[in-house]
């Protein structure tokens, strides 16, 4: 039993390239997912007929099936669907990279939509009424008054969700993409150095995600949830438990 971690050092440039792709995917899915998710949450909050119901169904569906299955849906089916739209009727392959970007954005938007929707509900009614009394249009009300507050309230949850998203990007392994994990897996299998590469990957993910968790915790503390008094008030609000 001897382990050769020099192999990992030699592969560092390749691994970093993979890590860059993971970061890129996370960033695109986060920004795209947040924009789309906020938009969907607002439509549900405004109770737009038909659209609100359709979005509810979409969010429920996305949240009930595994991400790997969604990746397969997009990887195998969307090319066929696009093929039907073109005159030639031939399937158009999207390529795994493009599939990953689209899938993660759409999949995460469902989760972000639920977070933002909870935030929209948590904002004081007076904010909505005040904005209306000032004669702001619905768009201005949401964009300038409500959403900025929602983002502040939900910041810790959004950060934790983004950490989960970053962890989930490792699943592009099933499309044989070269993200951080994919890069490590490829070299590990080529050189049969599974132990060295997989343990290194685990440690790097641990470090990055721990930093993310720390950030989320900071946001939470900033909101004063940690003081005993605040904790009790919050518990009372959430659980409706009266002080004995």
């Amino acid at each position: 039993m001897s382990f050769d971690f020099a192999a990992v050092l030699n592969a560092t440039p390749y691994l970093l390239q993979g890590l860059l792709f993971s970061a890129e995917l996370t960033l695109v899915a986060m920004i795209g997912g947040m924009l789309l998710g906020t938009f969907m949450a607002i439509i549900r909050h405004m109770r737009v007929p038909v659209a609100a119901e359709a979005i509810r169904a979409y969010v429920t569906l996305m949240r009930s099936i595994p991400l790997i299955l969604v990746l397969f849906w997009f990887f195998f089916l969307v090319p066929l669907l696009l093929g039907h739209l073109t005159p030639a009727g031939r399937s158009i392959p999207l390529g795994p990279k493009f599939t990953a970007f689209i899938t993660f954005t759409l999949f995460e938007s469902a989760y972000y939509a639920e977070i933002v929707r909870a935030g929209l509900k948590a904002i004081d009614k007076g904010q909505y009424e005040g904005a209306k009394a000032l004669g702001l249009s619905s768009l201005t009300m949401y964009w300038s008054v409500v959403v900025p507050q929602v983002l502040r309230v939900t910041a810790p949850i959004i950060v934790s969700q983004t950490i989960i998203l970053f962890q989930d990007t490792a699943l592009v392994y099933v499309l044989s993409l070269t993200d951080f994990f994919g890069a490590a897996a490829k070299i590990a299998q080529r050189d049969s150095k599974l132990v060295e590469f997989y343990s290194t990957v685990a440690v790097v993910y641990l470090l990055i995600c721990s930093m993310g968790s720390e950030l989320s915790e900071r946001f939470r503390k900033k909101q004063g949830y940690r003081s005993p008094r605040g904790r009790f008030e919050r518990a009372k609000r959430m659980f409706g438990i009266a002080r004995p």
Binding site: P66, A185, A202, R231, R237, F239, G240
Partner: protein, 242 residues
Amino acid sequence: MRFLFDQTAEGGTYLGWLMSGLCWTLLLWFVSGMFAFAIGITVGAARTVRYLPLRIAARIYVQVFRNVPLLVQVFLWYFVLPEVIPTAWGNSIKQVAPPWASFYPAVAGLSLYTASRIAEQVRAGINALSDGQKKAADALGLTAFQTYLLILLPQALRITIPTLTSEALGLLKNTSVALTIGLLEITARAEQINEFTFRTFDAFASATVLYLLIALVLHQVAFQVERMLRIPGVSQNNAVRK
């Protein structure tokens, strides 16, 4: 959907493939869920005790298992564990027959990962209880173990039922990660059917419907459990939802 009854290369039907996938998914889900629940409650309670070393150990557990992607954890159990333990043990692990050889590592990965998430919720549930509960238990002369078993956990777990439900649902979805180490659960079977028949839509639609059905049943069961365990006079309708 007629293709479901067509004959496969192995002699059975494609429906049989899906059902076998369903069985593996459910088995994996149930076994990992039980372990995750037991470990999660223990670790979650340990995070709130007075004894500092125990609290730190529980904190490290949560930190490590929550911050490494599930896929990586499953790979560690499957590929790395047999190599780093003494050779004789590693060899006996490698001799386990195929479906179980990927089943056990999947259970290890899924249950430890899910336990770290459950622990956080159990901790939040215990912290949300009034301090008076612990003080009263002390005043009655209960030991720390009795306090947790008889006073704190029964209340905290009731509060956390809604989040535990969503964890159970999350665990169900995460079982699909087991396909990466060769367990033929629902998603893997759907992909396999797609490969053999090119009925892409039908294959993935069947898998999606199966997941939706399980989720539906789970929601109903959770709702009934929540109603059964409700403490009369205490409103829990607005319990924490993440």
